[in-house]
Symmetry: C2
DNA sequence: TTGCTCCTCACGTCACGTGAGGTGGC
DNA sequence: TTGCTCCTCACGTCACGTGAGGTGGC
């Protein structure tokens, strides 16, 4: 097929196609006269590329998708976009204030908070691998809805950013990395949201939550106690992440800073402590 | 003030500040030794620039805002962003389908529709001046929520795009242009939305609508009948736009294509015709 | 002299768009 | 020969980021 036909079939421009060739997404044969000849598969591929691009997916991501490399790529994109879309909504609200005559400098506190949300979510995504990054990003975004007002909050935010900047890349063993990638692909963003909301609900009223889910929780606790679990990749992954967090001051630096930044988060942590006690009591009374 | 202090106060980077200087947003004095000296006003300006940038406003727009040039700039941005945000939501839904395993090529029809919405809204924004562009963009976006399924719809869409591409720039006289800019600044996006929704509601049940607003409508009709109105810029603007539409086949090419593209729009036009008759009857029975 | 601040290029980014200048096909 | 298709550079976009190489201040 000549390029002219390809353009008509795909709706792409010549330059776009040439760009994809340059990036190695397709590599059509070149004839004697220098003309490119496109196969049917390549046209199909171009149609896919065009569709992905229109959804806002970057060319490097598309390359991975077409290569079938990564499993959880759509979930990751979806979660990222969901958070981005939340921030867009906030921007709309701020634009509305501008329309109604508010001076821009009076919106600084809210704008700063938006920035904070974005950079913290981004950092979690890149700092923590697989679904950990996604879960943390989602979880902490939830507590970053209030604005940064006081000086102490501003300092806490700076501390968080500094902490995240210092975070090294976790050096996961290859087998755990493969396991994590696999597992991440299988967790949908809904499940992720559901997990996040379940944790929130549990912290709100631990007694009720534990009672309602007592059976599952007991089964889960028992499962965690088996040798089979302890040698499973799931358990080793958990251990690895706990170590990683401990070594990098997650509990000692990051969490306290979050508590200073967000009263809502501080309250949540307080509730968690109570919940832990309730849980311990429940597990103790077999 | 030296640049170092400026960076600390504004949170900007050196390169960002240099870029704004290059674009002429600020022009700090340059001392003998080549160092730049920033005044307090310039620092304030930089803070404003930083805030606007974080809301996603482009540097050229900021230039206009700081120059106090245009009135309706925030409303226009808000409307544009509102439409963009609607499309982002649709993209999220499509990403969800991908996560649940749907092949990308099965989403083509919906993706095409999104593209159609975007390009049609964009074209209205740039083709029709002031609030006309905004109103049309909003109005037609509403009817572009169904997907492009049939071949006839695809052709209708092509016809619309071709029509808009052929549209010349309306050559508004200077005084009308000034009037329009002024008026556009005074119409908030809420009012625009309210207008749009009022028109929809009126078309749904013209009898009820006309009855409920009979007084206002009669007053308005009477007002339109005065000499004072007929020589007003508002009336001349209306006349100009009607002429412009007539000369460019708005009713003969664009509207029929919209009716073929969107069954919802076709139904709306049908209701409008009924509403017109009801209106004529009401006005006739003084 | 040393370490720090500041300056001005030059080049890169991302996904193409816009030509220019030249060749091949019919 | 003519008009059309196709090719490969080269440069532009937007809002900066990343150095390199050099000077000024204390």
């Amino acid at each position: 097929m000549t390029i002219h036909e390809v353009l008509r079939e795909t709706g792409l421009t010549r330059k776009a196609v040439e760009y994809y060739i340059g990036q190695g997404l397709i590599s059509p044969d070149v004839q004697e006269n220098g003309y490119r000849r496109f196969s049917k598969q390549e046209v199909l591929r171009l149609k896919e590329i065009a569709a992905y691009r229109k959804l806002g997916i970057g060319v490097d991501q598309i390359q991975k998708i077409l290569g079938g490399e990564e499993k959880g790529i759509f979930s990751r994109l979806l979660l990222r976009q969901t958070l981005a879309s939340q921030r867009e909504k906030q921007k709309l609200e701020l634009l509305e204030s501008l329309v109604s005559g508010k001076p821009i400098l009076e919106l600084s506190a809210q704008i700063q908070l938006m920035e904070a949300q974005e950079s913290i979510a981004d950092r979690f995504f890149s700092a923590f691998p697989g679904y950990f990054g996604q879960y943390f990003a989602l979880h902490f975004a939830h507590f970053l809805q209030e604005s940064i007002e006081t000086d102490e909050q501003a300092k806490a935010y700076d501390a968080i950013v500094a902490w995240m900047d210092r975070l090294p890349e976790p050096d996961l063993p290859d087998d755990l990395k493969a396991y994590l990638d696999e597992a991440t692909g299988e967790i949908s963003p809904y499940q992720m949201k559901a997990m996040h909301e379940a944790v929130l609900a549990a912290s709100e009223d631990p007694q009720a939550y534990l009672k309602e889910h007592e059976e599952i929780i007991r089964t889960y606790a028992a499962m965690k106690d088996t040798d089979e679990y302890r040698t499973s990749p799931a358990a080793r992954l958990m251990e690895f992440m706990k170590d990683f967090q401990r070594q990098n001051g997650y509990e000692d630096v990051f969490i306290p800073a979050m508590e200073r930044l967000s009263p809502a988060y501080a309250a949540y942590r307080e509730r968690l402590r109570t919940a832990d006690k309730v849980y311990e009591r429940m597990i103790a009374t077999q």
